[in-house]
């Protein structure tokens, strides 16, 4: 069995800082997630990983590559192509004291499992007066950007965030992926872990120690004075590109990676927008009832008196996610985000 995803990691550089060792490695998000899962399995004997092709193949995106060989087929295994069964089994395993880490192979495949997620996983702890917690970490390769067919590019965060009892999180880079997954997999509550599949292959520095970098709340990825771009998942890197371009025009943009989509870090949003007094929220999901509306309301609630303009949303459209050829027209691109920023910048009170 190939362990090559882990082994092909570029050399780990362990340097000594003034007082403690710092371990920073350049790796892809695939490798960072793989390493996080490997460590979770090693640290928690109750953790089990399963899903379609998760075992022998190591997952269609290689996230579970080599884990079955290292931890055994009792703890990392394949399931039938039946998402309702995958999540139903997770409920039973959680009741029996396990920490299931199921994978739904693609976002759109979560629909057949919605009943198990909403009616069982999200409310079993509530229903049982706290005697049956559901420590389930559901990994969902999510969002678009890889030219895949229908059901392989959808953004379900607003659906999940709307369900009481679920937590929702999405990492934007390899460092975030490693730390957020390790944190999510130790929670006593169900967490929907939305992996931005278009960012799986992009490499970045992962600081495994990351002391003082709490895996909760939002995170400022770039500081700026004039406007806050709020994003999550794959849109964070695009917003960072936009911020660089805006700097050429003299506009200093702050990029806030929301990270946790339920609960949303209202205090972090408020702190950023109180400073910049302008905000644009960017997401791939359709506009109507998308999470951008929730973000806009939270900002309005906390910053109404100081906002220079209404919060803008730059999002996907209110249509089914299109086939690969039309993807670039659907996902917010650099120009659409810049237009959103311009609308905020030129807003005049009537």
């Amino acid at each position: 069995m190939s362990n090559s995803i882990l082994e092909s990691t570029s050399g780990e550089s362990t340097a000594m800082s003034a007082d403690k060792p710092v371990s920073v490695t350049v790796m892809s998000m695939q490798q960072a997630l793989n390493r996080a899962l490997d460590e979770v399995l090693a640290e928690n004997p109750k953790a089990v990983i399963f899903g379609e092709d998760c075992g022998r193949l190591g997952g269609v995106f290689r996230i579970t590559d080599g884990l079955q060989a290292r931890h055994g087929a009792q703890r990392v295994f394949d399931t039938p192509l039946a998402e309702s069964g995958i999540l139903g089994m997770s409920v039973g395993l959680a009741m029996a004291g396990f920490h299931p880490i199921p994978e739904v192979q693609f976002d759109g495949f979560a629909y057949p499992a919605i009943n198990q997620i909403v009616c069982q996983i999200a409310r079993m702890n509530y229903r049982s007066r706290g005697t049956m917690p559901m420590p389930i970490t559901l990994r969902v390769p999510s969002f678009g950007g890889i030219r895949a067919p229908e059901h392989h590019g959808e953004s379900l965060e607003a659906l999940f965030a709307h369900v009481p009892g679920l937590k929702v999180v999405s990492p934007s880079n390899p460092h975030e992926a490693y730390h957020l997954l390790k944190y999510a997999a130790t929670r006593p509550d169900p967490v929907i872990f939305m992996e931005p599949k278009s960012r799986y292959w992009q490499k970045g520095e992962v600081d495994f120690a990351a002391d003082g970098d709490a895996p909760t709340g939002s995170k400022v990825m770039r500081e700026g004075r004039h406007l806050t771009l709020v994003a999550w998942g794959a849109m964070v890197s695009r917003c960072l590109q936009v911020a660089e371009l805006a700097a050429e025009d003299g506009i200093d943009i702050e990029v806030l990676d929301l990270r946790w989509l339920k609960p949303i870090d209202a205090a972090g949003l408020a702190a950023s927008v109180r400073k910049t007094r302008r905000a644009v929220v960017v997401h791939e999901a359709p506009l109507t009832s998308g999470l951008g509306a929730e973000v806009a309301q939270l900002i309005t609630q906390s910053c109404f008196d100081t906002l220079k303009a209404p919060v803008e949303r730059v999002t996907g459209f209110d249509v089914p996610y299109p086939s690969g050829d039309l993807e670039d027209e659907y996902i917010p691109n650099i120009d659409r985000i810049l237009f959103g920023i311009q609308r905020v910048l030129e807003y005049k009170r009537g």
Binding site: S2, S4, I5, S8, S28, Q30, D53, L57, G58, G59, V60, F61, R62, D65, F106, G145, I146, R147, A148, P149, H152, S198, W201, Q202, H226, Q241, V242, E244, L245, A246, D249, G250, I251, G324, I334, D335, L338, F339, I341, Q342, L345, E346
Partner: protein
């Protein structure tokens, strides 16, 4: 690199085997998804099997005239580890392009 084996699929209505007529690819060859791999004959008809994926052919099983049972290995592909089994394509990292410029007079009150 990872090896992925493609077994002979059930070619319809519960057929249990097929006879290889002619291989259209050979080991070492890079094939594309849907490229014809092999012509086989069943008790019903002769059919060309399209490739289920892109990859480099590592091994083929059975020569002309050989019978292969449904579910037995037909062909083995080699694919890069980090793209094995992927649906869709790995996005290219491109330098950001823009057509929109920002213009604003910012009052720093």
């Amino acid at each position: 690199m990872a090896e992925i084996s493609f077994p002979l699929p059930d070619l319809g209505e519960g057929l249990i085997e097929a006879t290889v007529l002619e291989w259209l690819v050979s080991p070492g060859e890079q094939v594309e998804r849907n490229q014809p791999l092999v012509e086989v004959e069943t008790t019903k008809s002769a059919v060309e099997l399209p490739s289920p994926q892109a990859g480099k052919v590592v091994r083929i099983h059975g020569g002309p005239g050989d019978k292969i049972n449904v579910g037995e290995p037909l062909i083995v592909f080699e694919v890069p580890d980090n793209t094995a089994g992927i649906v869709g394509t790995v996005p290219k990292e491109e330098a950001p392009k823009r057509r929109v410029r920002l213009s604003a007079v910012l009052d720093e009150d």
